[in-house]
């Protein structure tokens, strides 16, 4: 996803001179090409995320489209107040881009896990939140982020994510992508766990399968349709259960007098205190194919 993102940005920057790239001293062996092609539009801010985001807002207020790039957890938590006041409140055209949403940097330890970012970003007014699930979605979301005039949080995986989409699906901001129609269980995925969720869906008969890379604005229509037309909804995210994507889906369902039951597959309100690959930590958190399939069977 990371390479897809940077290649897409390079392409867009050729056509749009407003695009400027800031990094918080991350992107070794990934950003060099952009830096060489557009030296006057590439700035390394060193390890100073707060200053970087403030400056990104200042530059955006002068007519630029500024990307503020770091590891997901540093990109949006250290400079949270700059994102709130300088970017979101002022509707500055800044794209906060985080690599490593969830546990891609698993063994680096809990400081490098981004598992609360969706919650804090989606609670900000004016903020669009995009969490692509595979390289195809990464390209589409990068284009959507830069086409949008205003604040965006783009939560990427790291690299090596399996491609789930065959061809380019239709997408517009605020719309889900339907991967499979069905009337049994609806499985909705956001972010880098898409391939894992796709594997689970294969084992669930008559499942409806939605990918929702656009967490905010959320596709209420698709959720309400699933609540009406299918028996059970499962939402999957590599993120804390509280306040994240599953909560966003629950907020849509809550006002209904009756609706299909909702099962959240997410991190169960805990930090990881052990090393481990992304797959291992997903297992510890209970974000697994087995868990999704079992949940579907409960209401099957």
């Amino acid at each position: 996803m990371r390479n897809t993102f940077i290649n897409t940005v390079s392409e867009l920057a050729a056509k749009d001179s407003r695009i400027v790239f800031f990094t918080g001293d991350l992107g070794y062996s990934v950003l060099e090409d952009f830096a060489e092609k557009y030296p006057s539009r590439f700035y390394n801010f060193g390890v100073s995320e707060q200053n970087m985001v403030g400056a990104a807002a200042g530059m955006a207020l002068c007519g630029k489209k500024v990307i503020s790039y770091s590891i997901a957890t540093f990109a949006c938590k250290r400079p949270y107040e700059q994102i709130r006041v300088d970017v979101a409140f002022q509707k500055a055209d800044v794209k906060i881009v985080g690599v490593g949403g969830g546990y891609p940097y698993g063994s680096l330890g809990p400081t490098h896990h981004a598992t609360e970012d969706i919650a804090i970003m989606r609670s900000l007014p004016n903020m669009v939140v995009l969490c692509p699930g595979d390289p195809v979605e990464a390209e589409i979301m990068t284009k959507a982020a830069l086409a949008h005039d205003g604040p965006v949080y783009l939560r990427l995986g790291k690299g090596g994510e399996e491609t789930v989409h065959k061809g380019e699906p239709a997408f517009s901001l605020g719309k889900a992508i339907t991967l499979q129609e069905g009337t049994g269980t609806t499985v909705i995925s956001t972010g880098g766990c898409l391939a894992m969720v796709a594997a689970a869906v294969k084992q669930i008969p008559n499942a409806r399968f939605l990918s929702m890379p656009c967490v905010k604005p959320i596709d209420k229509e698709a959720i309400l349709a699933a609540a009406k037309e299918t028996k059970h909804i499962i939402v999957v995210e590599e993120h804390q259960g509280m306040g994240g994507f599953g909560s966003a889906v629950a907020e849509v369902l809550a006002p209904l007098p009756t609706h299909a039951p909702l099962t959240q597959i997410a991190v169960p309100d805990r930090f990881m205190d052990e090393a481990g690959s992304q797959e291992h930590l997903r297992g510890v958190a209970g974000i697994t194919v087995e868990k999704i399939v079992q949940s579907a069977q409960r209401f099957g």
């Binding site: 700035y43 200053n51 002068c62 007519g63 300088d86």
Partner: protein, 266 residues
Amino acid sequence: MNEHELKEHIRTVRKHVLKMVYDSGASHVGTSLSCADIMACIYEVAQVNPKDPRNEDRDRVILSKGHGVATWYAVLAERGFFDKKLLDTFYADASPLTGHPDIQAVPGIETTTGSLGHGLPVGLGMALAAQVDKKAYRVFVVLGDGECDEGTIWEAALAARQFKLHNLTVVIDRNDQQGLGKTTDIIDLEPFAAKWKSFGWHVLEVDGHNHDELLVGLKTQGEKPVVMIATTTKGKGVSFMEHDTFWHYHNPDDEEYKKALAELDK
């Protein structure tokens, strides 16, 4: 403005500030009075046009110590950025004039501040945008000295030198007072000038109430970013408010308001 006109303009600004604070029950009168000369002098030097406040080539002015906003509003109103009558609504329900600057409030407010330590990074980004576009505009950022406790000030100080932002001028309202007392007693910033110098800035130490010194400093531009450490008196112009932390929060009563106005009119 000539010297006399500038002096009278600043007297009017201070009177507006006093009235706005008195009418509204707002706090921060001391900090607003301390930066009145600085803000007024910046607008003497900055290339801005109240009739075309969003012109792409304008100089940018930021009050990063946002709690001094009454002064900013008064200076902008006196210079014709908006109707002076609006000053009467400061702090009131549904007024655009909030107790800290809001970019959407009135023309001339270049960025929202109020949480300390935000204005300099934003100003740095504006100065960098001028560089990218090869434009000549300058950026002026006013900081409080207490605000310099914030790490972002020093992050931005490092980056401004690195990116060679010769179009960036910082003025520090050095009144040696912050929330709970004297800056020197809380987090001592000294040797303050030496700190900025070691960060690669061109440092000027001026009297923050001396208009000649301020104007000369504000016109100074070289290869480095410029920082002016402007020594000021918190509560300047009202004897019983000067140097007193009480007036960071307190609001004048009828008697105090009359007395203060009389002093400003002297």
